[in-house]
């Protein structure tokens, strides 16, 4: 049966499609979180494949921090339009205005404020399942999270009380008001995502490729100069050839110096990298349990 061997990417794809089909069958109102970032781009392709020739049965939801790389928003909108998918956008800006999300003085990043915004959006549309692009290799709290990750009526994750998840038998049962986060890319690595993007010939936002950008050195990384950050006197602005490895709030997403202008070059760069992709996100560096704490509150 040697000819019936699946490559690792085909195995991962089969597993993810199975997960997406389970979501479609088990939940009444699932939604797919689509930011325009590389992981959610892969998820969209998997969703296309899982249900064709029919269209995938979920709308898309983006929680917009307002602190964006403009290229990302353009990409998000054009990709959704291309697929004819319904895209719902809820903004942190709006959540602040409504008092749903509250800013803490001195905090520039809006990552934390995405959580109440997301929870309010799930409630507004009565979504009972949010499909996210998180991967277990990103961070060690995520390494312990289930594919079907239960959230209580407050949207919280309880890492000590997770449902066992044997084989591919996912327990999707919830009570009204509770919801599930589902992560079809749980077993994918950053490298798998890039290989898949290359194999499927997927379009990605231009900022993943090398480009010229004004940056300042802060907390050991190159931070993009934007109206959202105040350049300090001791921070000379430099124009460098950079790209982003992961996309978050522009006020805290570090760029890496890179000449990688093609997928092949990115793959070569990632395979030689000696730092994980989350190493360029200041929000994860705050403490050893930063991600666990944010996830407990209901973060993606």
């Amino acid at each position: 049966m040697e000819g019936y061997r699946l490559s690792h990417l085909d195995s991962l794809e089969a597993e993810s499609i199975h997960i997406l089909r389970e979501v479609a069958a088990e939940f009444e109102r699932p939604v797919l979180l689509f930011s325009g970032g590389k992981d959610s781009i892969c998820m969209l392709r998997l969703a296309e494949k899982a249900f064709r020739p029919a269209r995938f049965p979920f709308p898309l939801l983006n929680i917009d921090t307002g602190h964006n790389f403009p290229e990302l928003l353009e990409f998000r909108d054009s990709r959704a339009a291309e697929l004819g998918a319904r895209l719902i956008v809820r903004t942190v800006e709006d959540a602040i205005a409504k008092g749903i999300a509250r800013e803490v003085p001195g905090e520039t990043s809006r990552n934390r404020l995405q959580t109440p915004t997301l929870l309010a959006a799930l409630e507004e549309f009565k979504f009972d399942c949010a499909i996210g692009g998180a991967r277990r290799d990103e961070e060690k709290a995520r390494a312990k999270e289930r594919v079907f990750s239960f959230r209580d009526a407050f949207g919280q994750w309880d890492p000590k009380n997770q449902r066992p998840e044997p084989w591919n038998l996912f327990n999707a049962r919830i009570h009204p008001g509770e919801h599930m986060r589902v992560f079809p890319l749980s077993n994918w690595t950053e490298m798998d995502v890039w290989h898949y993007i290359a194999r499927e010939n997927l379009r990605i936002p231009s900022i993943y490729f090398s480009h010229s950008r004004e940056v300042v050195r802060r907390d050991g990384q190159w931070l993009p100069v934007s109206p959202l950050i105040t350049v300090r006197a001791n921070e000379p602005v430099k124009t460098l050839r950079v790209r982003v490895r992961t996309i978050g709030d522009i006020s805290c997403t570090g760029c890496i110096e890179s000449d990688a202008d093609s997928l092949e070059a990115i793959i070569a760069e990632v395979s030689a990298a000696r730092v994980t992709e989350r190493g360029s996100r200041a929000d994860d560096k705050r403490s050893e349990a930063a991600m666990e704490d944010r996830k407990r509150e209901g973060y993606f």
Binding site: M1, E2, Y4, R5, L6, S7, H8, D10, S11, L12, A14, E15, I17, H18, R21, E22, A24, A25, K49, F51, R52, P53, A54, R55, R136, D137, E139, K140, A141, R142, A143, K144, P159, K160, R163, P164, E165, W167, N168, L169, N171, R173, H175, S186, N187, T189, M191, D192, Y196, A198, R199, L263, I267, A273, R274, V275, T276, G279, E288, E292
Partner: protein, 439 residues
């Protein structure tokens, strides 16, 4: 299937599980695999150093790399299964790293459920312990096809071949009572790196492969059942579009066999016959789909098929019954399993109600002794049960198919996953059943 330019190298995927407690060197071994294959990143290393967790020997505590939850680091124990990933040019690996203590048996069972291989560590000084036996039993129960007994800390027994042989024959005496197809014994020192990624220079008497090489080479394709066609239907795809007006596709992950257009098939549990009209893989219509691909089938006849039904070949039929027998591991800490209780049963894509009709025995997983007087199964207990379902369900014996022979029980009120089950033959009338009925 992956041949576009710039695509991933053609490698396959091996899932393996490890279980162990604090002192058997498991974390050091995993750390060594990741370190030596250069898969620990600088910021992870930085975080480890920042947590200032240096051991007496001045080493970084590699357990902190896998113990991802705050409570785990605080208590210095592994509570839950952590998944870790690494790749060599030949294979991608997923490690399900499970806690070893008896109170986390359920986590171990979860980690073992999808594994192709179980890696069990033995401290060469201590030899086979009750924990070794427990882990081997779980590997056997979950039908992990390959087992590696890694006899670690060989440096502390003077690299002694005699000690290695002694432990090996101890384990053989025990494992003969179980169903493990393939066992490999590797003497190693994770601390010094002997026989982990690089062959050892201290043990010329050992002629086998080092651990990583074995993990790269172990043959796993034939562990799947390619003979008995099984497609559990997850969703029915009906596009309702002009281009595909009459399209009706039955989508699911192929759990056994190979499907091609023209194949005679049967739908269970309704037992209606038809023929495959077309098969679709992830790239669209194709010649054949096989396990474990996610696929969509079109059939010649317009018959009633929904989620939870299974499309199978007409030659090897699964069992269709209201009754099923299984080895179960109880996972709910709120209430024990008792005769007469009702649960939701999820088997493939089918969810139905089931009642526990019998607890035949409970297994002491360290001695393998059976307690036939057991009235309940408590958290982490493993035992033989019988269930009666509300409607007929189609299933296989777990030993023939790890996908169509497995189920979970869900508490109808709390929605907790209360048990996992592996379906087996009914117990024979006589008391002296052969050992394969154990599992």
């Amino acid at each position: 299937m992956t041949d576009s330019p710039g695509s991933a190298p053609e490698m396959d995927l091996l899932r393996f599980t490890t279980a162990g407690s604090v002192d058997d060197g498991k974390s050091t071994l995993i750390g060594r695999l990741l370190f030596d294959s250069k898969l620990i990143f600088e910021d992870q290393l930085e975080a480890l150093q920042a947590s200032a967790d240096l051991t007496g020997e001045g080493q970084i505590n590699l357990a902190n790399l896998t113990d991802g939850l705050r409570s785990e680091r605080e208590q210095g124990i592994t509570i839950d299964v952590a998944y870790r990933y690494f790749a060599t040019p030949r294979r991608k690996f997923i490690i399900a790293d499970a806690p070893g203590h008896v109170q986390y048996t359920r986590n171990m069972v979860t980690g073992a459920s999808t594994a192709n291989l179980a890696l069990i560590l033995v401290d060469a000084r201590q030899g086979v312990t009750s924990q070794t036996r427990r882990h081997a039993y779980i590997a056997s129960l979950l039908r992990i096809p390959h087992l590696v007994l890694c006899i670690n800390k060989m440096d502390l027994v003077g690299w002694s071949e005699e000690r290695f042989r002694e432990i090996r024959s101890d384990f053989e005496a025990f494992s003969a009572r179980m169903q493990i197809q393939d066992i490999t014994y590797i003497p190693a020192s994770a601390l010094q790196g002997d026989n982990v990624v690089e062959p050892s220079t201290h043990m010329p008497w050992y002629e086998g492969k080092c651990l990583l090489r074995h993990l790269e080479d172990v043959h796993i394709v034939n562990d799947r059942n390619f003979h008995e066609k099984r497609l559990p239907v997850q969703v029915v795809i009906r596009p309702h579009s002009d281009a595909h007006h009459d399209f009706r596709g039955y989508a699911g992950q192929v759990a056994g066999g190979i499907f091609r257009a023209g194949d005679p098939v049967m739908v269970v549990p309704s037992m209606k016959k038809s023929k495959v009209k077309a098969v679709h893989g992830p790239e669209g219509e194709t010649d054949e789909v096989f396990t474990p691909m996610s696929a969509t089938l079109e059939l010649e006849d317009d018959i009633d098929i929904g989620r939870g039904d299974m499309i199978v070949g007409q030659d090897y039929l699964p069992r269709v019954d209201y009754e099923l027998h299984a080895m179960a591991c109880w996972m709910d800490d709120r209430a024990p399993l008792r005769k007469g209780t009702k649960y939701l049963l999820k088997l493939n894509a089918r969810t139905t109600r089931a009642m526990v009709t019998q607890i035949a025995f409970k297994v002491d997983i360290e001695t393998l002794e059976k307690d036939r007087a057991a009235q309940s199964l408590d958290l982490n207990d493993i035992g033989r049960i019988a269930l009666r379902t509300l409607e007929p369900v189609a299933y296989d014996m777990y030993r023939r198919n790890r996908s169509t022979g497995a189920f979970i029980l869900v508490d109808e009120v709390t929605h907790q996953t209360a048990a996992v089950g592996m379906i087996c033959e009914p117990l024979p009338e006589s008391e002296t059943e052969p050992p394969e009925y154990m599992i």
